[in-house]
Symmetry: C2
Subunit: 296 residues, 2 copies
């Protein structure tokens, strides 16, 4: 079972408008509500692939209840730690040009709740074949939270996939997750002059860098790989990285060799771009690309 | 007891930002949540004035639960009819220039739920001294809903204050509420060439037109009054009309003569402008203006 950790999930609201006009009132005619957060996208993609998955993390308040209800409707099994604070919302106003985002801060998580989650996670780790640690940390959670969880997983012999940014990424890399999967911008924010040598100094694990249509680059402790989509795919890139993360987590579980694993990640990421909704992918595009890429 | 009817309440979310930039992502650091909708503002103002009030209307879903919790925290007594649909949200993104609004549609209310509310309202009307009918109608509610409720109130001898716009205002006026309180723009949308004679053709009751700093104009079946704030007040005009409505509802209950009632409405409206939050007013400004205006 792949356990996906989402410490800062969200209720994602999408408001379609003709055009966003600052300082006007927009009457929204249709609201899309989705359980959001990178880890939940990973869980949904794995569930859609038919892979056994368990979503865990922190949920609280009435917005947390709504997120739990949406996950249930998606059929994704979950075991969240309930917290006193209210799970955040994100609002995406989508007009004919692009999306404008408003991201609420996560709830403040006191130390006692974080300890309770770590204990809960220790209880789940025995059933896990892989753990994914994805997304931002809500306020109050220690910046080395992912390193703490990665060490719990390591002590149980469970490989970890890490996908976050900023100081949480730097601290998490130090714990040597099997794979860290930043995108190119997140890595550049950490070190604008990064290269294989600087990455290997930051982590004992492998790093897979996603770079949109330029595909994936993997820097392992002793090798490098690249994999590029055979055809350009247009659509909604939100959630494409999460689909890549899902493919890498599955590959970790199955002990897939790097070329096959990267080919699968590229195909699933592109199939996610072809789907209008984050956390979903186009199965036809996936099958087609998967057979077209073979191994990288 | 003044009964305030809010058929389309909302969870009002306010997101402060430095500047709203279309097609960018804005990280919100602080979210203000408020029970919104004109009728709930009227209820809060009356409650703050120490007047016995009961808020009724339609609430549903998890967002409805949050609105009920916020009203409870405000200490406003309520007796809402629960519906299956989810109460709407409004998002106001406030930058240093002005607010940008995103208003979700209300939940679709089936005929059976509307009938259930009318029966509930019939049960409350015996305890009411005045009824306020404020705000928009959610989808599914008949356009003459306020006329239906006004007739229930009339049959119990309870005067009605109506504050809405568009077709709901036109249909409501036909039922002859004691006072209709549109603002100048809402009235112009109904009839750009309105005057006392055309208004008297639309309703057997009185009409109070609010016009911002220009004050109030009352057209009764047999007279006209004007009342202007003695000093300009700057601040947040959102909710000022609702404070006026609260003053008029109290005046209706007490049988206050027009000049005194309008003076109170002008003072309370201006005191609401002086408060940064809709549905609240500055008590000091209110006292000062109230003594300054006397009667109009």
């Amino acid at each position: 079972m792949i356990v996906t950790v989402t410490l800062n999930p969200a209720l994602d609201l999408t408001y379609p408008v003709d055009a966003l006009v600052p300082h006007r009132t927009h009457r929204i005619t249709e609201v899309a509500e989705r359980a959001g957060g990178k880890g939940l996208n990973v869980a949904r993609v794995l569930h859609a692939l038919g892979e056994p998955v368990l979503a865990t993390g922190l949920l609280g308040g009435p917005t947390g209840d709504v997120v739990a209800g949406l996950l249930e409707a998606d059929g994704v099994p979950d075991s969240f730690t309930r917290i006193a604070g209210d799970t955040r919302r994100t609002v995406a106003v989508v007009d004919q040009v692009d999306a404008t985002g408003f991201w609420e801060p996560g709830p403040v998580v006191p130390a006692a709740e974080w300890s309770r989650f770590v204990a809960h996670f220790r209880g789940l780790i025995g059933e896990a074949s892989v753990v994914t640690l994805c997304g931002s940390l809500p306020p109050g959670i220690p910046i080395d939270a992912y390193a703490v969880l990665a060490r719990v997983a390591a002590s149980a012999g469970v490989p970890v996939l890490l996908d976050t940014s900023g100081p949480a990424l730097r601290a998490g890399l130090a714990a040597g997750p099997a794979i860290a999967k930043p995108n190119a911008a997140e890595l550049a924010a950490l070190d604008p002059d990064w290269n294989a040598a600087t990455l290997r100094a930051l982590t004992s694990g492998s790093v897979v860098v996603t770079d949109g249509a330029a595909g994936l680059r993997a820097i392992t402790p002793d090798a490098e790989f690249r994999c590029v989509p055979p055809v350009p795919v247009t659509g909604n890139p939100t959630g494409a990285g999460d689909a890549c993360a899902a493919a890498l987590a599955r590959g970790l579980r199955d002990g897939t060799e790097w070329p096959g694993m990267l080919a699968d990640a590229v195909a699933l990421g592109a199939a996610a771009v072809a789907s209008p909704v984050a956390g979903a992918f186009d199965p036809g595009v996936y099958r087609e690309l998967r057979s077209g890429i073979g191994t990288c």
